[in-house]
């Protein structure tokens, strides 16, 4: 199966799903799962191949699809996350309205993403990018209510991004004469650095918006929290990473390592890194203040993207490997967390962190998977998040960016703060009476979640598997290749041996467990049998989940408003006011209208005779 057929199958699959839905919802569900899983197989088979195919000609421009190791990695992540999300949707979305439309859009987004990562020229990149953008918009708005506002925010920023991108693309076309990545890559070194910077800035705006880098992040919290949960997983797991893909593409495939490092006196990639650092630090602490589980995760996504971009932009091989690996990991554990929260929402009907609690008794599997996800998010050893973060930190420290490293490391503590809040407020604490009948999540919800947590753990202990692939990518971009082993990474200034660490931790756990068994046998007691100064407190009065970090939020809340968002809203308001003023030109009075005509005539004559404008 060649690449064009792959995309075509994906596209037709999407529409076929829609049509089948008209016949029977059961067939549609089965088919959606089938088509999304089916596509993984050829993608896997494409590993290591270097296939290129020109599939269409648009306005005289050849549209090319090509698979490279980088796009293979992204494509696999995209397809896997989408498949899991489709599987999850089966029960999550059951009984909701307009499901045909939902599946169509979900698979269309998938097609768009596959197209983005597989395309080898800018015009098909743009086309797939836009298809992804608007279908995402339709999906974000799916949940009605506040989702509309979120969708609006998303699409406006997205359109701004694509406007910037199309200017960049066409400017490249005008100057280079081709939109093939290879040709552009050979063109860029020949052009002036000012022009390269202009192009890079244009594209950084686009990818920054999609990727939610600091001044462009404002669409993300709304969109992620309001979208249907399975789609939030796709959104956060892979869709925003299309921006990351774009960053890598432009910084390393098209512009090339040397140019990126040296352009603007070396300040460009440093500037991006600083933006990424800002993206880490503020959203992390804004996430601490959130009371909506998905909103919290959304802010966390922004922060984690900051890590990815920080790793990629810092310009060393170690950082690049870490950044790309963190992309992969973030896709896994953030999708996992969104799906877990989705499962909770499905069973309880709420995702308000202040009213949930104690669900560990009711949904143990979901809890443990979410716990693994949270560990990955924090970067606890034995999860994949640890390895990638370790690589990023090490790159920063050895690259002598101690302040960036500080921000990245300190962000981790913020991560602990909010992820503990997430876990605690949903699963721990006391179970409110109203949730006493909650059942465990259905099978189709558990499968993706369990699979993803396995990914998190396995790649945490044996990080060499994906790191080898990533290292070939980084080597192909001209970075120093790393010494990757199956158990981790060895480099001149330090070894990371995850198997060793795993053995140590495992042995220690066993030891402590034996110690634990040595003591007198424990007695299991009910959760409400808890010390309360001698009082017996009835159920439902003991739920300490409200304002979990009250002292902290009291201190930092005034400084952590999303000023950028406020600024954008103000801007929108200004435009609205201005548009209202513009509208007043059409005042309804015929006399004015005629005077417009006469005045315009007069102005034209004056311009010609008096000012010689034209």
């Amino acid at each position: 199966m060649n690449l064009a057929q792959l995309i075509l199958i994906s596209l037709c699959g999407a529409f076929l799903t829609y049509l089948l839905g008209k016949a029977s919802s059961r067939i549609r569900d089965t088919f959606a799962v089938f088509i999304s899983l089916l596509l993984i197989i050829p993608l896997f088979c494409l590993y290591g191949k270097n296939e290129e195919i020109t599939y269409y000609s648009f306005l005289g421009l050849p549209l090319i699809l090509k698979i490279t190791p980088l796009s293979w990695l992204f494509a696999i992540a995209v397809q896997t996350i989408t498949s899991l999300s489709v599987i999850f949707s089966l029960s999550y979305m059951k009984g909701k309205e307009r499901l045909d439309f939902y599946y169509l859009m979900l698979l269309l987004v998938n097609t768009g993403m596959l197209g983005i990562v597989l395309s080898a020229d800018l015009i098909s990149f743009y086309i797939f990018w836009e298809i992804m953008s608007w279908s995402t918009f339709l999906l974000i708005s799916y949940n009605r209510g506040p989702a509309l506002h979120a969708g609006m925010k998303y699409i406006v920023m997205s359109i701004i991004g694509s406007a910037s991108m199309i200017i960049g693309i066409l400017s490249l076309y005008v100057n280079c004469g081709s939109l093939d990545f290879v040709q552009i890559a050979s063109f860029i070194p020949r052009t002036s650095s000012g022009y390269t910077l202009f192009i890079l800035i244009l594209f950084c705006i686009t990818f920054g918006i999609k990727n939610a880098i600091a001044p462009f992040h404002t669409w993300l919290p709304d969109a992620h929290s309001e979208a249907p949960s399975p789609f939030s997983a796709v959104l956060s797991g892979v869709l925003i990473k299309m921006g990351t893909y774009g960053f890598i593409l432009f910084m390393y495939t098209i512009a090339g390592l040397n140019i990126i490092i040296n352009i603007g006196g070396g300040s460009f990639h440093y500037l991006i890194s600083i933006l990424a650092a800002i993206t880490i630090i503020f959203p992390t602490f804004i996430a601490v203040l959130q009371d909506d589980a998905k909103r919290l995760l959304a802010w966390s996504s922004i922060a984690q993207v900051g890590y990815i971009i920080l790793g990629i932009a810092i310009g060393t091989g170690l950082g690049f490997v870490g950044g790309v690996f963190h992309f992969f990991n973030h896709a896994a554990f953030k999708a996992l967390l969104f799906l877990s929260v989705g499962a909770v929402e499905y069973r309880t009907g709420t995702r308000d962190l202040n009213s949930l609690g104690g669900l560990i008794k009711k949904m143990p599997i979901t809890f443990f998977c979410a716990l693994i996800g949270v560990f990955g998010l924090i970067g606890m050893p034995l999860t994949n998040g640890f390895v990638s973060k370790w690589l990023i930190y090490k790159a920063l420290i050895l690259g002598e960016h101690p302040f960036l490293a500080f921000i990245a490391l300190f962000g981790t503590w913020g991560t602990i703060i909010y992820s503990y809040k997430l876990i605690h407020n949903i699963f721990l604490g006391q179970l409110p009476e109203k949730f006493s009948n909650v059942r465990k999540a259905p099978v189709t919800m558990r499968i993706p979640v369990i699979f993803l947590s396995l990914v998190v753990v396995v790649f945490g202990i044996l990080p060499g598997i994906p790191l080898k692939i990533i290292d070939t990518i980084s080597a192909s971009f001209g970075f120093q290749p790393q010494d990757i082993q199956i158990w981790g990474i060895a480099s001149e200034t330090g070894v990371l041996n995850m198997v060793n660490i795993f053995a140590a931790i495992f042995a220690a756990l066993i030891f402590v467990w034996l110690l634990f068994l040595m003591g007198r046998k424990k007695i299991n007691i009910a959760q409400d049998d808890s010390y309360a100064a001698g009082a017996y407190v009835p159920k439902d009065k003991y739920n300490y989940t409200v304002d979990f970090y009250k002292p902290l939020s009291g201190m930092i809340k005034p400084y952590l408003r999303d000023f950028v968002d406020d600024f954008y809203l103000w801007l929108a308001d200004v435009i609205r006011t201005f548009s209202d003023k513009t509208r007043k030109i059409y005042c309804g009075d015929l006399g004015y209208y005629i005077s417009y005509i006469v005045l315009f005539l007069a102005v034209l004559i004056v311009l010609k005779m008096g000012l010689k404008i034209w």
Binding site: A526, D529, Y531, A533, G534, A535, Y536, P538
Partner: protein
């Protein structure tokens, strides 16, 4: 004091541990609250015997009830006692828990605390001086050594009786019974 007797430690570590690591939770009302602080601070320093105040019943193994016990506080006393891990020891301090003391004719005090929870030892007096606590502790050591400080076993065995007494004083209790054993009047 046989704290430094290593042979004994090897012979019966549980008893020795219990003896020299009495972590006390105090239930202090009235004048009892005045007498406890000197015990644990510099003047008498209970810590040299391993007796330290702890904050929750889960961590304690010595329960000191000092001062009178009203109906309302009885509820908390029972709850606290039931939350303590075994082995656990109780000491009533002052005449009020023993027989009501000067509140013997009050409608609202509990006259005989041992009807509701088992007591290992009493310290009589109104109020006893802090030294009396040390006397009680040393006495408790002896009892532990001899295996006589088994009030918690009694509570477990005659739980039905205790529970009935408790319900008689407090009305229906809103927590489930701790043990299922020991019903009847006995």
């Amino acid at each position: 004091m046989d704290r430094n007797d290593i042979k004994k430690w090897f012979k019966s570590p549980d008893k020795m541990g219990d003896k020299y690591s009495l972590w006390a939770i105090y239930f202090c009302t009235g004048c009892g609250i005045i007498e406890i602080p000197p015990v644990i601070t510099a003047r008498w320093d209970a810590e040299r015997f391993g007796v330290i105040p702890v904050a929750t019943p889960r961590q304690s193994n010595l329960f000191l009830i000092t001062g009178y016990v009203s109906v309302k506080t009885l509820r908390a006393i029972i709850r606290t006692y039931e939350q303590m891990p075994e082995p656990k020891y109780t000491v009533g301090f002052g005449s009020c828990p023993i027989n009501g003391g000067m509140y013997w004719d009050s409608y609202n005090t509990i006259k005989h605390l041992d009807k509701y929870i088992p007591i290992d030892g009493w310290i009589a007096g109104c109020m006893p001086r802090p030294e009396a606590i040390f006397v009680a502790v040393t006495h408790l050591w002896t009892l532990i050594d001899q295996g006589k400080a088994k009030a918690y076993v009694k509570y477990r065995e005659k739980y039905g009786l205790y529970r009935k007494n408790q319900e008689m004083a407090l009305g229906k209790l809103d927590w489930p019974p701790l043990y299922t054993t020991g019903g009847g009047n006995d």
